[in-house]
């Protein structure tokens, strides 16, 4: 099985048209072969955003630091309280920053982990790429299609590895499911459905107010249009506004869709139609739809992807996915990371001539493993981790166009080659949202 896995990885790299053994230049000023990340084998890393998931990344880095794989040079957050807590958890020698641009300008930093709110992902990723730094950025990759395109361009032009944090693609649960589906466990799959609990509602809206002590509101807003602070907006509730978070479809959907595209071997199917409808909240600051149904139709091969809030819950947990095949169906609870795969998928034996699926397998902890996959892409020089930014952008495009169809109240025909909505100038205008200066691409 290990040999089959290596062959599959080579095939993957050929398809990606990246020659193995390419030279990679690191901003630490050392020209290295593709076989090692730095003069002493260590990546110098920085963290931007140390809230919930950001602290998970920091703890991962601390573990990598103990193993001698990285050195944490800097941590940045616009909330002084969070920054202080993160610095306290880190080792001495880590520089704290409020303004991420200090990290961008440091030439000694090789790689950056970005776990800021969604609206910051593109700008910070592009700026870091442009200064030659590899990037690990949380999902969703982007909040608009044009931002995602800019991220892909920046990664390619600057020859850096950008991994999007849809970590199920390197996790066991998704891997078992992917290899089972690709090798016919339920036969040909023509429909995949997702169920997910509803978006929350804001029944206790409050007036705008000054921001809390220690929070740099201008820097938190960053590229978003200016608005006064509101306690029902920040920190975590930004997720329930269309302008900032995009709701469950962009939060969990970014995970679920990534796993589904992988299992369906459909990363190349960039054109589709999308039709969404939803029930908006009747009051409050949050405007993401409470319930939502989105249908994506792909061609060649033909299959349908359905996002349901609440959808049809076939499994046991709060959210998950069902692959409906000609010979039955397979459930994947959650997204394939935090929960194990269905026992059927785990016990599935590849048929003769079956296709093995590659997965970096260095850590049991899938958050650690996803970063190991990213390090590997840097070390080996191909710069295409498992959720390369192009894959992350395509996944985010599904989420963002789902929301756009809902906002516009109409079906959209997405031309993935031309990266535009067919015959709908207003929709195409909304593929982009100009950023607030100076936090611009």
């Amino acid at each position: 099985m290990a040999q089959l896995a290596r062959l599959s990885r080579r095939k993957f790299l050929q398809r990606s048209a990246v020659a193995a053994g390419a030279l990679s230049v690191l901003r630490s000023g050392v020209l290295q072969s593709a076989t090692s990340p730095g003069a002493n084998g260590k990546l110098v890393v920085a963290h931007i955003g140390v809230g919930g998931m950001g602290m998970t990344h920091l703890f991962n880095s601390l573990r990598f630091e103990k193993e001698g794989k990285v050195r944490i040079a800097a941590i940045c957050d616009v909330d002084e309280n969070r920054l202080e807590a993160a610095i306290e958890n880190a080792n001495p020698g880590v520089t704290p920053y409020r303004d991420y641009r200090y990290i961008v300008e440091r030439k000694d930093i090789d790689a950056v982990l970005i776990a800021t709110p969604d609206h910051w992902h593109a700008v910070q990723t592009v700026h870091c790429c442009q200064s030659g730094k590899h990037v690990y950025v949380e999902k969703p990759a982007s909040v608009t299609v044009r931002e995602g395109q800019a991220m892909v361009r920046a990664a390619r032009e600057n020859k850096v590895a950008v991994q999007v944090g849809a970590q199920a693609r390197t996790a066991k649960g998704a891997w078992y499911t992917c290899r089972a589906i690709r090798n016919g466990i339920v036969g040909k799959v023509r429909r995949v459905s997702c169920w997910h609990y509803a978006n929350p509602v804001d029944d206790k809206p409050v007036p705008d107010s000054p921001p809390p002590e220690g929070l740099d509101w201008d820097l938190w807003l960053g590229p978003l249009p200016y608005r006064p602070y509101n306690a029902r907006y920040q920190p975590a509730n930004f997720r329930w506004l269309l302008e900032s978070g995009g709701g469950q479809i962009r939060d969990r959907g970014a995970h679920q869709f990534s796993t589904i595209l992988w299992a369906m071997n459909a990363d190349h199917q960039t054109s589709f139609t999308v039709e969404a409808r939803g029930r908006p909240p009747a009051k409050g600051l949050w405007d993401c739809p409470i319930d939502m149904e989105v249908v994506y139709q792909f061609k060649d091969p033909d299959w349908t992807l359905e996002w349901g809030q609440p959808g049809n819950r076939v499994g046991k947990t709060e959210f998950g996915n069902v692959f409906w095949g000609e010979n039955g169906h397979l459930v994947l609870e959650w997204e394939g990371g935090y929960r194990p795969a269905n026992p059927e998928a785990i016990n599935f034996q590849l048929p003769p001539g079956g296709e093995e699926v590659y997965r970096t397998d260095e850590y049991e902890d899938f958050n650690m493993n996803h970063k190991a996959d990213w390090f590997k892409s840097i070390r080996e020089g191909h710069l295409r981790p498992a959720v390369d930014i192009e894959i992350g952008h395509r996944t985010a495009t599904l989420c963002n166009l789902g929301n756009l169809s809902y906002i516009l109240g109409r079906k959209l025909i997405w031309d993935g080659d031309r990266q535009e909505v067919v015959g709908d100038p207003q929709a195409n205008r909304l593929l982009d949202r100009p950023q607030r200066y100076p936090y611009v691409l």
Binding site: N91, R98, Y100, Y226, G423, L441
Partner: protein, 203 residues
Amino acid sequence: MSAAVAGGAASAAAAEAGIEEFLTRVKQVPETASDKPPWTGARELDLGVVPPLLELLDSPEREVARNAKRALQEVVRHAGRPGAEKSALAMEGYLVEALAKPSTASRADLIWLLSEIGGRRSIPVLTRFLNNAELREHARCALIRIPGDSSAAALRTAWNKAEGVWKSALAEALRARGFRVPPTDKLKPVAQTGVKPKPASSQ
């Protein structure tokens, strides 16, 4: 009165009655967020609903103002659909007229709505806002979004006259529109933290 005229008058009366009923709903605050939204059906109404909705944007009752904003969003997005160019032009006209009036609290929202549907007629009012310290950044973004030579020309004219940070902001707008401009200070770090590094002795 001819049948056609009578029919037309009846339609107009029905449309007006529909708008009145709708506005009555929009002026109410729902009990809970799970209730039926008051602005449901805004897209089906005659565009005559727009002027009263624009007035409600400045309602002192926060949730009523929010209802009006969400209704207007629905109307703008419906008016911008393919094949509805006349509606889009009419909607643009309403928004431009509203923005030309003296100060209202909701002008930033209107500028962003205009960015979704506006064309050449939007450029003069947005250009005026480039000189308004509070609204100029919103107007700059709207001019980036509205396609065509007029919006680009407005940005270029403003850039030629501007200085300092605002000149850089306009330069980035032109860059976003595909023009080559000199580098700006967008990557210059500014904000300082009060958090201190961990001392070495704490290891």
